[in-house]
Amino acid sequence: MGLFGKAARKSPWIYRINAGSCNGCDVELMTTACIPRYDIERLGCQYCGSPRHADIVLVTGPITVGVKEKLLRVYAQVPDPKVVVAVGICPISGGVFRESYAIAGPLDAFVPVDVNIPGCPPRPQAIIEGLALAIEIWAARVDALA
């Protein structure tokens, strides 16, 4: 593993996209990162306000018809290399909204998804485990650049 891979493993910046979520998963995400108990800043993670700063994209919600174009636009603004994580059952399969006329999902029909974290909502521990998997994938991608 090269120098940049090692640095990248310790500095994954995360960005949230809410694609029509009920906010349950978003609350769990904020819980994971923002309270001292699960402090993920010790892994070097940092929430960023801009997709251009992001390394790992967390998507919640079932991709409603209205939000699909916006999701793709924001996704294109994340610089390479990047990793996509689907948080909650909604972006994976549609969850309770499956087969609704208002849903364009699932997420992997439009965007390559690297990690799925099922649950409605997933537990903070599950989110951290998924994030750890995503960090490994991301570090490998940075190494592949060199």
Partner: protein, 319 residues
Amino acid sequence: MSDIILRVLLAALVFPGGLFVIVLGLGLKGLERRIVARLQRRIGPPLLQPFYDLAKLMRKDGFVPELAQPGVFLLAPLIGVASMSVAMAMLPIAGVYTPAPVFGDLIVLFYLISLPALALMLAGSASSSPFGAIGFSREMALMLAYEAPILLVIAAVALHVGRGTGAVASFDLAGIVDYQRVHGPFLLEWRLVPALLAYLAFMPANLGIPPFDIPEAETELAEGPLLEYSGASLGLFKLGAAIKTLVIAALGIVLFCPNGPTGALGLLLFVVKCIVVIAGLALFRVTMGRMRIDQAVLFYLKWPVLLGGLALAAVTLRI
């Protein structure tokens, strides 16, 4: 002649500018993040976190927005890093380093430390983003407000040193340090206590620390001027901000408490003083909310200007 050029280049690129300031600046930034985390009862990131962040950003893709001015957009982050490296080379460290006279005096330094704010304004206006434009206008309003008190502080210190040495005013940085080594630090000089308070008030606005992180306001402007930056140019901006924190802390140390032993021990004491200043700023970061821009401008035009004016009056009238 070539001897002087070599000395200046060495000072600007290796010690204390350039390499030294980058390593120490990023190290102090890591320490600050750690202190902030501990104050919030978190474990916090590793001490080397800013180095990891910088190395990672250097490998990432860089975008230039379609509507942006590419030249200005890519040049702006370089201005911040370069000006701060030179500024650090101008600051004497008592007993360790005395800058060559060709670097200039306190007035040149004053212009240099306002350059990163100008770079941020350029970045905000060149990036074509509405958030960047709002950040630009706020940075400009804030800059107009905090530059008045810092000028009064600089004038008060220069007049005080000038009175002591027989001149009208001494803007020579090495002279200011020498004067304090003979007569004791200005920290203990009662006439300059208001100036010290005004300098302390100036620091958070210049460095974008709460309650004056208004131009970059993460929650409302999503980092304003930095919003459109990615990859290496974002890394340079983060590096510039880390160095700037060190330079502003070092200027405070030079103006008010530069005393220390010679050699390695003196350098160590300098670093310890920087850590004390950074820890104080970290306390601000965790305990303060954010002011509105109109409140901040009014605050700066009232209290720090009053304090700076008091110091200037006390020094001039020799009461």
